[in-house]
Symmetry: C2
Subunit: 211 residues, 2 copies
């Protein structure tokens, strides 16, 4: 289906229906872009390819986006919005550090595995974002890593985590494991995303906890 | 320094000295390509860029390579040659499954962290290789994963690894953790590549072992 996009006339009053249609179309653009970046790679997919896949006339795609990098950013940003929301919830809870860790590992593993396309794009293509956007992502992830590091240290002081382990290396190990789920998880596999989160947690907590 | 490469004359007898010079030059090409792919990304680095960085006259780079993808392949292949060698050694040893696992985790973590440029290129750019080469890599890595899975299952039967853990998910967790080292390891950091291998091992074995 080939469709002509409404021209973006500056100053024109946009009706509610047009706005709704445009917003629904934008969702489709994002979904299609995510799928194509995932299948062909970000560098190999042009903005025009995405427009063609959507059946848009040449050039019409620019009605919905300004640059290819904005699409990638919006895709990984949506992935991060969820991450942000469960992270803040866990951070604010009054559970023990070990329980916070448990919850983060299970939730983050399940989230990575459930949102395969977005999580894969995030982990494989984030370097294609502008330097400024990369910096913002690094800063946000550093906050998460510091929180986990703090929980492990607190648990070591409380005697619930082995004191002979380096808390920093343990933090890296945890994120390495959790974030790897996008590489091999298959939605039609024998285990659900949630079950994998629980298994990962068993393994890590088993390694961390004082015997 | 701008240098003109010797023309590849078919049928001409190549002297030993020329062959040696050519081979040393090829090493430089590989080193430079690896560094540039690592810093700028594979897609953004052209073969001509690599030639220019080496001070070669336009076009002379093709005396040393036939295609950019061959360079990437050769870089990741060298990384894999080492992997192959320690993997075969551990596989052939008559240690217990748990000791084999211990040795693989420490050796592979240290190897990933010691060869940062190559391991990073392998993990971030392997999808830029031809479909055939990707298949060969997948097949080889599947062999490693199967070996680890077998060791965990054997250890479960022997009663040295907890029987309530899913050996497949534990295998993924181990590789996820070990292979993440290229993301954060810094050679000038407080811990050596070997120390990180030992810490990772402590954590995983602690989680796996029967209490």
């Amino acid at each position: 289906m080939t469709e002509h996009a409404e021209p973006a006339t500056p100053g024109a009053t946009t009706s509610n229906r047009t706005r709704k249609r445009r917003s629904a179309r934008r969702e489709q653009v994002l979904e299609t872009a995510a799928r194509m970046f995932f299948e062909k790679g970000y560098a190999a997919t042009t903005t025009e390819d995405i427009g063609a896949e959507l059946g848009l006339l040449k050039g019409s795609i620019y009605y919905y986006i300004s640059a290819k990098e904005d699409l990638l950013f919006e895709i990984v940003e949506r992935y991060h919005e969820d991450t942000r929301s469960y992270f803040e919830r866990i951070l604010a809870s009054d559970e023990s550090p070990l329980d916070k860790l448990r919850e983060l590992i299970t939730t983050e593993t399940a989230h990575t595995a459930t949102n395969l396309t977005r999580s894969s794009l995030f982990y494989t293509e984030w370097r294609s974002l502008s330097a400024e956007r990369q910096q913002a992502i690094i800063a946000e992830r550093a906050r998460h890593e510091h929180a986990v590091l703090d929980w492990i240290r607190e648990a070591q002081r409380a005697g619930t985590v082995r004191s002979d382990l380096d808390p920093k290396i343990a933090t890296y190990a945890i994120f390495g494991m959790v974030n790897s789920a996008y590489r091999w998880f298959r939605p039609d596999g024998p285990r659900s995303a949630e079950e994998i989160g629980v298994e990962f947690c068993e393994l890590v907590l088993g390694g961390l906890e004082t015997r």
